[in-house]
Every structure is written in C-alpha cells, then in structure tokens.
Symmetry: D2
Subunit: 486 residues, 4 copies
C-alpha cells in the first residue's frame, strides 16, 4: 500500500570524490570546502584525516559534507597543515561507518591515510590470498586491499611500498595518500577517473575536479596524468611514472553527467562540452517543435545547445523542487505520478498545446522517463519528442560507477523504437558515439584504440573485470556483521 522511495531518479551514480592539501594552516577547513564542492560525487558519507606533526586526526561520518564537517568543533580537532578527504556514495548494504574513507592504518613506519575514487577489478582475488596469509580485514571496501598490500610490502620507503601495491592492483583508481613522508596522488594507467593538481599560495592541492579548487580560490595547475604518481613534500612536487607511458582512456560519461558543469576536465569545459553535445544532437536528429524543454537540472546545457542549433525556443517546461522528497509515503489510489511530482512539476503555461522536445542526458532503466513523458502529455503537450545527450547505455560499469545489472538497462533489451514505444514518445533519438566524440574534441571514435573509456555504451572495457568474470563477490560476513549505523 505505502512505498518509500517512490521516485526513482534513474541515473548512473559516481561513487566517490577525493581531495588532498599539503602545507596550509587551515588544511582541514579547506578540505571540507573542497569536499562540499565535490558533494555531487558522493552524498552518503564523508571523511577527513589530517596530520599535525606526527599525529593523525580523523573524523568520518554518514551524511552530507555539511552535516559531517559543518561544526567548528569538528574542524578544530582536525589539526595540522596536511589533510586528505573523501566523499562517498554506495549502495545501501554497504553504508557502514567502517567503510567510510579515508581509510587509516598504523603500519610499521607510522600512520597512512588513503582515499580512493574508482573501483579495482581484481580486489576480491587479492583479498582472498591476503586472508589466507592471516590478514584481517575491517571493511568491505576494495580500498582496504591496497592498505594491506602496502603493509606487507617488503620494499623500503613508503613511496616504494605504495608503488609495489599499485603494481598488483587492476582497475580504476584516483588515489590520495597521506603519510609522514608526504602527500601522494595517483591515477591508474588508463586515467579512467579524474584527478587534478592545484596551488593555493604555498600549498599544493589534489582534487577530483577543478570546482573544488575554485571554491577555495586555488589555481588550477594541471591534470595528474594517466599512470602518474605525484609525491608532494616540503621540497615540492615530484612525479614518477611506474608504468612508463600508458594510453589514456578517460571516462567519457564524466562529460555527459558526472562532473559538475563548471569544472574543466582534461582540458575541456564540461558545460561547453554539454552544449556541443546538444548541438550535435540537434544536427543528428532535428525535429520540428514549438519548444525545447530540459529535464532539470542535468539536461539544461544540452537543451540550450540543442535549441540554439535548432533555432527553437528554449523554455523551462518542467519545474524542479529542490527539496529532496525521497522518503514520502505515496498514496495509492487515484493520485497517480505522485512519485515523479515530488521532484518535478510540469509548467503548464509553457507546455500546453505545444509540440515539445524533451532533452535529457541518459536513459538507464527508463522508469522515470516514462513518467515524465506522461506528466508532460497530461499538462497538454500535443507532441513529445525525446533527445538524449548520450548513446544508449547498454553495459554495466566496473570502474567506480553504480550501474544496475545489465538486464535492468533498458537499452540492453530494446532497440530505439522499442524504447520510444515503452516511454511513450512520438520520437526518440540518442546522440551517436561518433557525434559524442566530436563534441568532446575528437574527429570521431578510433575503434582500434578508443580515446576514452566508453564501455557503458560499447562493452569495450579498457581493463578486463576479472573479479566479475570469475564470479568473485565481496565478503558477505563482514557486511552482515556490522551494524549499518556504525
């Protein structure tokens, strides 16, 4: 009769954001601000570890960054000029305080804090061999595998131990790591997830996106390169390339939806990229209409690009209520579509009696799209055409994005016409994969050596997801044991 979470937001979700700073007297306060700017990359938990002399301080909690770090008392106890921070989204079962990062461990050489954006593809296999050796795990995160590999490494200085660990792990990772020897930043050989270097007066920063530099007034220096390890100490920034030169395959979905529009990612403005995608889409799949309406908020830049290119009016035909509204009880009977209306209401004045082009960034399960289309029709639209600023999402991601099982992805089960019928639109079009590549500055997709990771559209995985192939899933016992609240 009653259901909670009636409204399915139907987006892929970025799972993490990281931040680090070295050499600023207000390191923890700045890290909190940086994490706030990265909040869209993880809303369920946040943590900061700071280092003051040889003492580490730590605060981790569930909730938004502001809930966790909005109090002066919390920031004050995080003493020191060096800090790393992390925001995290994860599926419900794993929302445990013990999984909140940065993870910390006391090793022979002293303390080490580690924050991870991405996902390892051989974590379970490594974990099993570590457990066999007598290692005791305290979390269910793949990140803890890296910690144990560092702990048991026979190499000498911290830097060598860390690189020793990197050589054993596969998959996607952008890491920030704080020890008594300095702050390290690392990206996997394909550079799948982003990581940038910034500078604020004499201090150095690492962040998932440039918007985290903007909020604290730091200057953007450069992207960390694919396969690069940077070591920040009092002597400055040093760079190491343990894997030699590698071929970058950055996640193209960061441009479509994950990154914030005001970030500059791998040299390209995300906002501009989205407008260009909209323009490509208009060129590829123009349809005559009275108004171009974005599905707010993420569809706005592409809709603007589409409208401009198509020379059609842009208007806000759907109003978004920014108060969350996820947990409301949904009355069951006559009142349909309450779920979608918790967040979106059609703006009849703009829609009624019009031919409407809806622009959205992606279709995952398709559940929300169907409801929005029906809502727009009820508000009096005479035609509804949908244009999507990504190719059809046909495959799961194993690199740090929360995706449904493949058979839940609408595009893995239906062709475009089938999807159009299900969603109930007069026409449906997705941008082509080459159109997408063009919008982000390439002449097209190089199918022999793709310039980006686009596995969710093509199934062409840059790293073989071995744990998944071998059916290795995460340890059940630790997650069963722990109280979700702790």
């Amino acid at each position: 009769m009653f259901t909670t979470n009636p409204y399915d937001d139907d987006h892929l979700r970025e799972e993490c954001g990281v931040f680090g700073i070295y050499g600023h007297p207000e390191a923890a306060a700045l890290t909190a601000l940086g994490l706030h700017a990265l909040q869209h990359r993880g809303q369920e938990a946040a943590g900061i570890v700071s280092l003051d002399g040889d003492k580490f301080h730590n605060h981790r909690d569930l909730g938004h960054v502001e809930d966790c770090f909005g109090s002066e008392n919390v920031i004050r106890k995080l003493k020191g000029a060096k800090a790393v921070g992390h925001v995290r989204y994860s599926t419900t079962g794993e929302t445990l305080l013990r999984n909140v990062q940065p993870l910390f461990a006391e090793m022979e050489f002293g303390g080490l804090a580690l924050g991870h954006n991405g996902n390892l593809t051989n974590a379970q296999a490594l974990r099993r061999s570590l457990v066999k050796r007598g290692c005791l795990f305290q979390s269910t995160t793949d990140t803890e595998v890296i910690i144990h590999l560092i702990a048991i490494s026979l190499h000498g200085p911290v830097e060598d131990r860390v690189i020793d660990a990197l050589r054993q792990i596969d998959g996607a990772y952008s890491l920030v790591c704080l020890t008594g020897e300095g702050l390290m930043g690392m990206r996997d050989p394909q550079g799948i997830r982003p990581l940038v270097l910034g500078k604020l007066d004499g201090a150095w920063c690492l962040a998932s996106e440039t918007c985290a530099l903007d909020i604290i007034g730091a200057e953007f220096v450069r992207d960390i390169e694919a396969g690069e390890v940077v070591i920040i100490t009092d002597a400055g920034v040093r760079s190491v390339k343990p894997f030699g030169d590698t071929k970058r395959r950055f996640c193209i979905f960061e441009y479509i939806y994950f990154a914030r529009p005001d970030s500059i990612v791998e040299g390209t403005s995300v906002y501009d990229a989205r407008k260009r995608i909209g323009a490509e889409l208009a060129r590829e799949s123009f349809v005559d209409a009275d108004v171009v309406v974005p599905v707010p908020d993420s569809g706005v830049p592409a809709a603007l690009g589409f409208a401009t290119e198509a020379k059609l009016p842009f208007d806000l035909g759907i109003i978004r209520n920014h108060y969350v509204g996820r947990t409301f009880i949904q009355p069951t009977d006559q009142t349909r579509h309450v779920g979608v209306k918790m967040k979106h209401n059609p703006n009849k004045a703009t829609i009624q009696g019009k031919r409407v082009i809806l622009v959205d960034d992606s279709i995952v399960r398709g559940t929300t799209s169907r409801k929005i289309v029906e809502m727009v029709r009820q508000a009096g639209a005479t035609e509804v055409h949908m244009r999507i600023s990504s190719p059809p999402t046909t495959h799961s991601c194993y690199f740090g994005i929360d995706t449904p099982e493949r058979d839940k992805l609408l595009a893995s089960r239906y062709d475009v016409q089938g999807m159009a019928d299900l969603i109930g639109v007069d026409s449906l079009a997705f941008i082509s994969i080459d159109g997408l590549y063009r919008a982000v500055g390439e002449p097209g997709r190089n199918s022999h050596s793709p310039q980006f990771c686009d596995a969710c559209f093509t199934g062409d995985y840059p790293v073989i997801p071995t744990d998944y192939m071998d059916g290795l899933t995460e340890s059940k016992q630790l997650s069963l044991l722990t109280d979700p609240k702790k």
Copy 2:
C-alpha cells in the same frame, strides 16, 4: 576568525504556507505532500493536525516536511479523513516547537486547529487586553490571539465565533481551521496572502498555491476571494462574506519571488509573469552585451524573458551548488569569497571575455549582489550590467514576510547610481512600478487605489501597522522561558 552562516542569501522570505483537506481517506499523507510542494514558503518547521471522528491527532516538528512527515509511522498515527497542515519559516529566536502550527486548543465545543499564513498588525494590543482578562498564552505567535478570541467569544456556533474573532483582528491572514463542524478557509479583506480551493475526487482542498494541488493530482477550482470565508462540511462548500465586498490588494511580490514558478496565482501563471517582467525590463533598460546570465535559480525566468526580448544569448554563467552549505567554517585569510562560492560558482567558459547582463529578482541588503559581481568579474567578464526584476525595495513588510529593518534595506539609503557603485556594476536598472503592473496584466499602477499590495516598494500600506506604530513588540518572557529546542 571563524564565522558560521557566511553566505547571506539576501532575499525577503515568505513566512508560511497552509494546506487543508476534507473528506479523503488518506488526508494526512496528502497534506504532507501538499506541504512538501509548499516547502519554499517555510523551511524551519511543519505540522499536521488530523481529525478522525471526534478525535484529533497531531504531529509537529522542526525541520523540512520530509524530516517531519517522511516516516510511515508518523503518517499512520494521523488518522482521519480531515486534516490541516502548515509550514513555517521564522527568525531564530522564535523557532520553538510550541510556536509550530497548526495551533490546537480544546474549547468548550471541542477541539480546534488553526494554521495561519500572514501577520496580524494589532496582535500585541489584543494580546495585552487578553492577558489582563486572565488569558494564559502558550506561544509567542500572533496566531494564538485568534485562538483566544474564539475561545472567549459569546457567539454560538463555531462559525460565528470564528467570524467574531476575524472582526477584531487586522492585517494579513490566509487561514485554515479544522473543527468538528468542518474545515474553514479564510482570507483577510485585502486578500494579501494567497489561498486556493481545489478538488480531488470527492474531497475538497485548500492550499496556499496551486502547486500543492498539482502534486496530489487535485483539480484547481478557484481562488478564495479577499474577505471570503468558506466552510466545507459533508454538505459541500458554503461561502460567507462577513466584511461585504472588499477591495483586493494581493501581494505583488508573490509574482516576483515568493510563489513557485509553476503556480497559477490569482489567475496568472507565475512563470509567465516573470518572463513578462524580464521582457518589460529589457524594453525599459536595454544594454548591449554578449550574454544574459541569470542569478540562479530565481532569476532564470526573468533572464529568459529579458534575453528573448533583447535578442541576446541566454546562458548559465553561474552554476549553483544545491547542497546547502550554510554552516561551513570560512577560512579567513587569502581565500576570498568562499561564502558566496558555497552556493555559486562562475562558469568561466561562458563568462570569460564577455559583456555580461546579470538578471536577479531583487536587491535587499545588497551584500550578496556585490560578491556575485566581483566573482563574475574575476572569472573574466569585461563588463557587468545588472537588471533587477522588481522595483527598489525601500520599505519593510508587516504582512507575513521576513524583512530587515528599514535602514538595512540598500534602496532606502541609496539611489540607483549609489547602489550601482556599491555593488560594483557598470550599470544597474530596476523595473519600474508601472512596468511591473503591466507585466502582471494591469495597464499600470492606479495610484489612488492600487490594485496590489506593493508597500515594500512604495510604503503605501493597505492596513496601518498599528502594533509597529505603537512600539508594541512581542512578549519577551515566554520566549525567554522556553528552551529553543522544544
């Protein structure tokens, strides 16, 4: 050194929203949804009183509607087919649970629940005479005065007692009132604050705005008229006009900022009105530029109207972070403008090297405007022109809107050029009062008998604020006594 709430949102604030429903088996769940849609009218507290047979049920709490009413347990205990609800914003000192509405009292004839949007202008004078008579107050709200007036009325049926009370109060009020004899909805003789009637199957609804009808799928029937009392019972809706025919002076600021853009208010689409205001503004104060940029989110419709009329490109030059960020610690030294960046980040790709027209809805203290302009300049704008979709705000409101003291209002101290200098723009223009009236469908302002309440722009108050004139302020002792948390 550290400050909380570093970012001043610098808007007038609507203080309340009300909702009522009569004759639906899921009355409380629908009221919670209606209040969620009205959340923009009050974010600090929410309450619902339901009536089941002759038993009232009640839940009131501090926080957003979802926090207060997101749980099934809470809704389940609010039994019955009749309910009234309230959302509330108030200044900090008064955020007490005992002030959260709907207020409830047990009278000789049984229980009565009352929710109020607006503000009485003679509440303190009435309160003093009631206390002298031996009445004991349990809250500091002006609304409780109405409750006592009903309790001591010598008139017979509930309806007559309520009207007896209305005859003694002055000011702005849209009220919902639930007793064993039915659900009543009332607006003051000027109809300053909004109230609409809706229908959902066999049930009748009252709500501050139509967006609250939309969310539950109810049909909009009509506005409650100025000075009208409607009584909803099993026999249907009955209307009484205790003040005879009165002259409506609806709050024109509801069109500019308070109401949700997807609401239809007094027959006019708020979104359309805002676009027309933007178009009027473009006609009145065009300036050549490269891009029209809204201050998000409230400036968007007016900016679209402006850009279309001015034939200039519309673009999102400022990105809003919807994660709240009010309580963060603000580092003090080099890092400027962290406050405003908690919520807004300039989108350099759109602004750099451009002549920018910023469109915002109002300037209250001017503090935020100055920071936004500086931020936009730092992002590389070559010129910054500001256009405001309301006339200068020069006077305080005494009718249910939280406004600063008059001497804190920038426009009461400076002329337009003075404001432009302070804010740091190349040019500044406000819409004219007649332009505003035209945009909402009038030929212009009738200065002998203004069609709207526009006192915040003109000082022409529709009701004399007698408590304020007499220097009567609210009871200090009750608010001192009570623990803020309770």
Copy 3:
C-alpha cells in the same frame, strides 16, 4: 512471546517532590542537588525555574534529575538567586514534556512558576467551568487549574490571588510558587503531603523532605504546618493561615515506604519509625524461624527491628541488583522467574535448609510477593513466613499516590489467609492499624478523629474525592493530541 517490563515492582508510588530556594547565588545548582535527593519521589521528569532580576529561566526534561541537570551548561543558563524545582512520576500516558513542572505562566503582574506535590480532588470540575469561561489549557495536570484560578483572580497582590485560588481547590497539595514578589510555600489544610523549611547561610529553602536539606548542607528549621502559607521575601519569612487552625492528617504511608529512611518527617526519624514498626510486628506476630530476611531495599529497617525484637538472626537472603533491568526481553519457555531475578537473586548460602521470615513493607497486587516466595523456596528454604510492615492496602489513594484501581488491590479481594494461600507462604501477617500508630508515637488510632491519613488502609478519606465520585476524569483530547515525547 516477548514481553517488556516483565518485572512488576508492585509498590504504591509517590508522584512528586518539590524544592525551592530564595537568596543563594547558586540557586539552580542547589535546587538540582535537592531534587537529586528527592529522586525517589519521582523518576520520570524534572524541572527547574529560576528567577534573575525580573527574568525567568527554565529547563524541564524527561528522565532522572542527573540526566536533566547534570550538565554545567544547563545549570549556567538557569541564572538567579531564586529557584523552584520539581520531580515527577506519572503513568505512561501522561509523560509529556508539557506536563513537566514547575508550570510557568505569564500573567498580568508578570511570571509565576508553580510546583505541586499532591493531587486535587475537584480539579476536573473546576477545569470544566474554566474552559466554559474561555480558558485554554496547555497540559492535563490538575496543577494548571491552580494557575488559571490565579490568572483570573480579581484580587490584588500576588499573595491574595494565590490564596483566592487555594480557597477554591480541594485535596492534597504541598506547593512551591515563585514570582517577582517572592517564594511561597503552602500545604493543604490537612497537611497530607510533607513540606519543610530550611536555612542555608542567608538563604531559605523549601523541600519535600529533610534529606534534600542535608545534601546541600542546609539546616532544618521546621515543618510547614497544615493549612499554612509561608511567604519568603528579602524581608524574611512570613506566615499566613488562610484556613485558620486546621486538623493535621499527614499521610502515614510516608513513614512506611515513601519517604527516605534518613529523613525526619513531622518530627520523627523515618528509619527509627520503620524499625519500631518491625518491632511492633514481631510482638504482634512472632513466629519461630532461623533467619529474618528483608525484601531489599525497603524492607531492611523493619526487618532489623523485627529481628532484634524477635531475637532472631538478621541476614541478607535476597541480593538486589541495582542495575535497573526493566526493559529486558524475557525468554518464554523453560526459564521461569526471569522477571523477578532481573532485580533479586536468592542468596542460597543464607537460605538453604532454613526457616525464613521475609519482611516487606506492603502488598499491593501481590504479584511480586508470590514470585519472591517461590524463588526463596527454590533456593532451599524449608518454611517461608511473610511479615508486612503495613496494614492490608484495601483502598485507592486520591491524594498524589499512584495506586491501582481498587479491584486490583489484593487485600480488597482476599482476607489474610486467602492472601497467604495465593502468595504461597506458610504464614502471613500484617501490622495492625493500632500497632502502626503506636510505632509512630501515638497511643493508637483515634477512630473519631484519626491523627493521620490512612485511607488506603481504612477507606476513611480526609477529603471527599468529588471528581472521582462524580465520574469526572481528565480531559482526553489534550493528551491525545500531544506527542508523548514533547
């Protein structure tokens, strides 16, 4: 299957304790200590109102005094040299924060705080006529009736208004009342509940029992007399007798169980009284045995008196676990008597193979007694005799003691032999009513004009419980309305 609160403590319960202090710089801290010493008189809620100049401060909460007032922050905000405090026990349905005392009201002459120990017998009748007049009640306590009577009194100074109210109320009351004009202490004409006056340096104190004077190092001055009103101001202590000379009928059960053993009540040491009751009991109902065992903790003094008089060994045959244990889940099957064992465990070493005399202070429902007897037998006692240091409890109390309905009282349904059979003892005896009077210093009970209130044993009520006789029960609506937690 599972039950909470498995262990029924089966005692009558005192419902309140009061404390007041006038003229000490640490008034609130001392009041908190005084209330802690009175904790046995009310464990569910506590409150303090202080007065600093003309500002009242207030803190009230559910829980033990230490939970409510153990924090320095709370005490610091209760500024001023004058304070009144209250501890409260009540049945579950009424545990509302709004019922927690001292009640406070803002009247024409300023603020007034009132704390009440006792129970009015005509509160409901008064309440009805006050509601008819338009008075709005904010709690379900009988105490609020007194507040309204003071508010509407036509008499002049506060003192006269208060006495005017006293003349209209019937029943048991020991009151402390703080206003801008001073601290008042009052007892009803029969002086049913206790109230004492103390002195600490220049400050005056009022307290339910002398143990509250002891904890703060104050000197005991005298009992407030039956029907006396004392007014404490900067000028000292003044006494008024609005009812002239009245005949004292103090609650004799305070000696048996309610008061703390280290208190001196109406001139008599409670501990000594209990030992004398035990000795009387031994004289009246000696039985040969090997050991005299108290039911801890309240049975200890009477058992000592009994053992000494009977020349039998006294020993702790039942060990009490002072960790509460009320809410535990009780396994259902084989494991019997878990409930009683949560609190009591037989000390086999003392009991096994022995003839045991158990001494307890009263039998209310008899449920616990039966379980304790069975437990003692299982531990190996060869005979179990029970001796009770009160007469059979046959009638309900209407004067501030929580008693079951009359038909739940074991002694109202069975004679002594019937009770002995039900409880499972070899013999059972209660002290006689005359024996009890002798133990507290009287030659015996004067049946024409009893020296004490002993209605729970005799049905001879000192004041007719008119509300009860007229079937007037408390207002249901206000208590239904309010959330139990608030």
Copy 4:
C-alpha cells in the same frame, strides 16, 4: 569552580565479564540476561555476537546492558542458538566502540568472535612484532593480539590455532570464543580470573560468575579449571589441558569486592566469605562501640559478620542514594561534602551520640574514607573506628583490574597509623593476610607457594608483568585517531 564527577568512588574496578551459550533457541536473549547479572563487572559497554547456521550477527554499544540490549529489535536481529557476550569497564581514553568486545574477525576458516576477561602482560611486545609482519590492528585492546595470533597460525583446525595462540600469551585471561566449530572457554594457567560452566536444559553456558547462571535458571556444573580449555560442540563438552597441570592462583580480591555476594566462586559462597572475613576482623581488632555501621553497599556482609562476632548492634548509619549522581555540578562555597552526599547520607537517628565502628571493604586512595568519616562525625558520632575487610592495598594489579599508579595507593605511602591520622578515625585496622586466607578456607597463606593471587597486597605477582617492566605502553596513534564515540 565547578567540577564534574565530584565524588570519587575509590574502589578498584573489575574490568570485564564474559558469557557464552551453545544450543539454545533464545541464545541472544539469555546472553543479554547473563550480562545484566554481570553488570557489576563492567558498566561502560556491552556486546553480543550470535551465530545462526554460518552467519554471525553482532551488536555492540556503549552503556549498560539494558541500554544496549533492552530492545526487542536488537535481540531479534541476533539470530541463532549460539552466542557470546561481554561487558566492559575501561578508563575514559579507551572507551571506543571499536574496542567493545566480543571482537570479531573473518579468517580463512570463517568467522571468530572472542570475549576476554583479564589482561595480558606481554601484549605490547607481541603487538610490535605482529605490526612488523604487516598485521593491521583495528583496536587498542590486548585482546586483538590473540585474534591476530590465531589468524596467522599455521596449525590446522580452529582449536589448534587457538591453543597455538594461547601458548604465546602471558597474563590473566578467561576467554569465550565462538566459531563455526563450536564454543570454547579458556582460563590462563593460574586461573586468575573466574569462569564457570553451566547447563540449561540441553544447552551449555559459560559465565564469569554463577549469578549469571541463576538469572536464566541454569544449573551450575563446575568451575573451568586453571589452564583448562573446554570445547563445546553438538557432541558435548570436551576438555583439553594444553599446559598440563598448573598451580591455581585465583584472585583473592574477587571474594573481597569484585564478585557478587550471591555468587559461588571456586566452591565458596562470596557472601559467606565476606561474613567470615568480618568475623575474623572482629576477632583480630575488636573495639568496644555502640553500633557497627557498614559503608553501603559493599561493606554490609562484613559488617554483619563483625557485629555478630563482636556481639555489637548492627545498624544502617549511612543511607545510600542509588540514583547515580556522578555528573552533578558541585557548588563551591559554604556547602561542603556535597560530593560524598550525592551518594551517602548519614542517618543521624542511628549515629548521634554513639561510638561507631565503620566497616568497609578496602581503602584505595583514601579520599572517600576521609569524607565519610567527617560526615559521620558531623552527624554526631562520639567515636569513629574503621575496620577494613582487606589487607592494605599496596601494589598495582596487571591482571584485569583497574588500579591507580602505585604512588596513588594510600597504603603504599603510609603505615596504618599514618592512614588513620589522614582519614581522621579514632582507630583503624585491616584484616591480616593470614586472617583473609583463613576466611576463605585455607589454614593461612603459604608464602612459598601462595594459594591465591594477592599481589595487590603483597607485590608477589604470579606472572611477571613484562610489558610494564619494559615500559611498553599501548599504541597511541590508533586511540588518537578514533572518535571517542565510535
């Protein structure tokens, strides 16, 4: 000016209690009850791990057992017929949720839960070598060392791995350990801390004391022997003696204070032992007086034994307030001794004008004794003699008892007369070490091979405290890092 915790209870404190059950459908509910009965052994935190099939369930929290396990929801989620539980006291700095036991780890062979009463004397040395090997610790407890030793053991079945770990650890331990292979109970070779075996229908139980068997109605079977390992499986109870025959040296202080009086410890009733100690004390150090008064509650049995032997009247001259009262603010000026009065009030009726013998169980720092003596004198005692039912406490304990540093122990700095002067008594006497041994059934202390651990009186440690001798203290970083609340 203000101080919290003004009253120093001045007792040594037992640090832990353990419980385990195998083969009962209500295993978790019974474990919660068992822990409630053991609450006196640890009041700061409690935990239970249950095993249902091959799934472990867990709940651990800070607070009393009732706070942690009083809710049906918590018990219901602890499914399965096997469980182990733990109560814990610890010094403030270590009260972290991650230190709350039973500890759990997932090893190669599956899950393992471990609860520990006692203290290892070589834990820090072992920990250092484990960290060097790459082991990561998640708590600061010595118990986690045992977990890692089991994890890295090369031996085969769980039982052999556990025994392998036992061979490496020194000190005091009574352990309960639950794995998929069964429930194990173990005591160190000296059997310093207690552990008993019980039976409830078909189920087997392990508990620190017999009072935990009593509460669930289980039958006492026998003590686990010093150096014994019992393995409970579906096949029954099996016993292994990995250390061969060892010489028992049970902690004699369990008889004096730690154990509950209703427990039978190593074949002797604790209550009887305490009465016999009181009698010995009367024989050794009789003094003529009017009354023997126990310092409640722990002094009562010894005082009864003393009074009986000395043929003097026993009476309650000090009344204990069982409401805790630790955190109250203590007014500073005139009001002396508020601290001690929070818990104890002299019963003037019993003391005034009398020669009093106070009987207490021990003197640690002496702070409380001095205040009690002064309080008793102020209540009018003409002479105060103190008799202590233990020898002078001159040495720290390293075996699971919280003791002050040696130089804080009064008896390590003063002789008996010096102590008497400081405490302010007319005479002071402690029981002799031989008298103590006689009271617990020995002919006297065998100084060549003491029958008990009495190191706190003699400095004769049964195991050399090597960590302490080597100055090894616990890891500071992990405890610094963790939030005290988590």
